[in-house]
Subunit: 235 residues, 2 copies
């Protein structure tokens, strides 16, 4: 339960990898912080069948870092280094990966442990969540149940999928400010299910942004604006 050897430093960012002994098996992760001390942290949740090193996760880590915000990402249950080697990751095997890894229960346990670990190392900081698609399947329950999360960028998810019923139940519990992305032509998560989930979120301050395009075609400007949003909300 500690940092791994690998550490990298650029002019503006320090990257450290770690592995924690989770209740559902080892949880490998990457922590990045600006070389200048950072008083803010964002938890990054990657999408289904992706992993902690997905390109858009690296992009978000970079743009948040440019705003002086540290980030942490872990492989989700059944994903990345935690993938069951008998499963080929893909849309058809996603539910198998999710359930095989322990699903929402594991994800909640992993993230509580991860945030505990990072806070033990660096102290408590203003903390937000960023995660789309499976990053919302996980991020909504995390944000709804962990009061340390002060703001969440969610989206590309609805009252749908393997934990759709949990999302439906937990959404009204949410109180922190939310921004929620919808892809109008989402071919994976039905638009109406996404709109329904947004509607159910209890937070008084919540804003939905919708753009044309398929599930994975989130415009780059929304990615950048999501960083600006978290930056502003984390104060």
């Amino acid at each position: 339960m500690s940092w791994k050897d690998t550490e990298a430093q650029t002019q503006t960012m320090v990257t450290k990898t770690f592995e924690l002994a989770g209740a559902f098996g080892p949880v490998p992760g990457i922590y990045r912080e600006p070389t200048e001390a950072s008083g803010r942290l964002v938890l990054l949740g990657h999408g289904g069948t992706a992993n902690k090193e997905a390109e858009y996760i690296q992009l978000m880590a970079r743009v948040l870092n440019e705003r002086g915000i540290a980030t942490v990402v872990i492989d989700a249950p059944g994903h990345g280094e935690r993938l069951d080697s008998s499963i080929a990751p893909g849309p058809d095997t996603f539910e198998k990966m999710w359930h095989g890894g322990g699903g929402q229960k594991a994800a909640l346990s992993d993230w509580r442990m991860t945030l505990d670990f990072i806070e033990a190392e660096y102290g408590p900081r203003a903390t937000g969540w960023w995660g789309l698609s499976m990053g919302t399947m996980i991020g909504l329950p995390v944000s709804a149940t962990d009061q340390r999360i002060q703001v969440a960028q969610l989206g590309l998810m609805g009252t749908w999928g393997p934990n759709g019923e949990s999302l439906r139940e937990l959404a009204p519990e949410m109180t922190c400010p939310i921004r929620f992305l919808v892809q109008w032509d989402d071919e994976i998560v039905p638009r109406d299910a996404c709109l329904e989930l947004f509607g159910l979120i209890g937070s008084r301050r919540k804003t939905l942004h919708a753009n044309p395009g398929l599930h994975s075609q989130v415009p780059l400007f929304e990615m950048r604006e999501s960083a600006a949003y978290l930056d502003k909300q984390l104060g």
Copy 2:
């Protein structure tokens, strides 16, 4: 068909009133420009039963002015100085006001004339539209049919109301970038009708922003961001 006497100047803004001889009667308007020369113009469409001097129109004129953008607003058909004195303006009389003033046909004629007039005075400039509710009932047809409009901030309207069918027909004709506001708890224009209208808009670049609240409870940050959006799009 000319400027009226009234003119006011603050440190940052020149305000001029005018009246044009429209095909559907006199069209009174207000033109405002930054004291520093402005290469950009936004047409402001006010909401139903309001008029060219509504507080939020003045707010938008001011925030656009702060960004170096000139604005022009006119009383809509049957509204403001064009109100039939036998009608008390209100939600119940809105359709009567709209139709009595000549409706969409008059609005299209008015705005073409108004933009012609302003361009004759100041030359052609990068031009956008800002208008919610009736400001979209008018702004969508104007933007869809006048190629001088390069970007439009619309919202609070759907495939609904006295020109709902026209909006449905014209939306696919739109090509300029659009931002579209929805109030999630809109008690006047049904949310589904708003979402349907957004879906029908033909523009490749269109983004919907939705927030909780009633029709008239658009958050102030969205008003400010709508100015930032037009500013960016008008280059």
